[in-house]
Amino acid sequence: MGLADFFTDVVSSLGFTEAQAEAPAADVETSTPQDEPAEKTEEASEEAESESESAEETPAEESSEEAPEEEEAAEEEEEEEEEEEEEEPEDIKPKLEEDCANSAQCAPYKHHFDECVERVTRQEEDEDFKGPKEDCVEEFFHLTHCATACAAPKLWRELK
């Protein structure tokens, strides 16, 4: 027995958990009806869930076909509402950043930016104004930097 064998024995006796990219065999059985290749564990389990959901839904729909039309219509409406909710996920980032911009942390930047916007719009509207052309990009940068820096950890807590 060589030295390498000794080390492999030691390592195998430690019982490291083996990371598997493919789904374990037990889960494959549930997903075999579709003859799909074994995928990652999460996906396989999610698919299994979705299949079970669809399996639950189909008998219900069949029974609803037999049932009076009102119930069916009601169910369809519910489903439509759910779909609409799923189709319109709202991004939380703009809201977080706006809250941050209005917070006390960014108050000075917000104050400068608002003042600049007011001044520049007044200058643009005033046709007689001969002074140098001004923009609020710098003030905008300071405000945005403050707001995004404040919102960054909050945003990451929400995202997957």
């Binding site: 996906e43 200058q123 052309k133 990009v137």
Partner: protein
Amino acid sequence: MLARSLLRVPNRAIARQSLGKSTRASSTAAGAESASSPFYLTLTASLATAAAAGSAAWYYHVYGQEAFAMTPAEEGLHPTSYPWVHQRFNKTFDHAALRRGFQVYREVCASCHSLTRVPWRSFVGVMHTVDEMKAMAEENEYDTEPNDQGEIEKRPGKLSDYMPSPYKNDEAARAANGGALPPDLSLIVKGRHGGCDYIFSLLTGYPDEPPAGASVAEGMNFNPYFPGTGIAMGRVLFDGVVEYEDGTPATTSQMAKDVVEFLNWSAEPEMDDRKKMGVKAIALLSGLFAISVWVKRYKWAPIKSRKIVYSPPIGPRR
């Protein structure tokens, strides 16, 4: 010898003292004269000090402050640093996020941006299975080798092929995008200052309207993070543009986060292995260091523990 010479000193020193008295007297006399220093010496010292301070100030006035010709708008807004999980030294890529990010790339970015340095095979085992990637590769056509007649035909893609580009060449890409070349995204995370933060900020940072007074050229969009603030790429990520297969709500920031993580993978596909090797190296080298310390102690033990004793010969007492 030394003691003897010291003992001899007094005799000679006395002789020297008698000789040196006259010289010392003359030097003390000179010191008394200089105590009332002449006016020109004070003036010279003061002028020299003033000239030194003045020239230093003048130099600082002329060369001291760096001249910045760039305006903040031309520099672009520095991206905010986001707490990316995959950038920590002990974390890997989130491969579910990579899969979502690739979906975003395929459905949104790939219409303009190429990913030429990434072959189909590199996705296998990272975010897709072999069969999935084969199917995706076969959707694209590639040139064959010339046949017997010297004609080049088309064949479906294989795993060994590289990702197809949306345009034939850079000129075609420029022509289709109003003169602006969409950069290749294979190494974009490495190729831009700020990396992941920059790209995430760029994708999500399009304001509803540019700030007051900012000039935006025609065909350009205002983005504070792009140097010069005028970017030819418009905002492409809107809520719900992509429908994720794992049911994650496809908000703008979620899609941007996923696609940035995917682009980081395409730039550094070896990252997970690299971190693993780093831990291996730390484990191995620390083990070797520990062994070397023990061996050193072992080897030095007889030297460190020996005792040097001088026992003088015992002679008759005087």
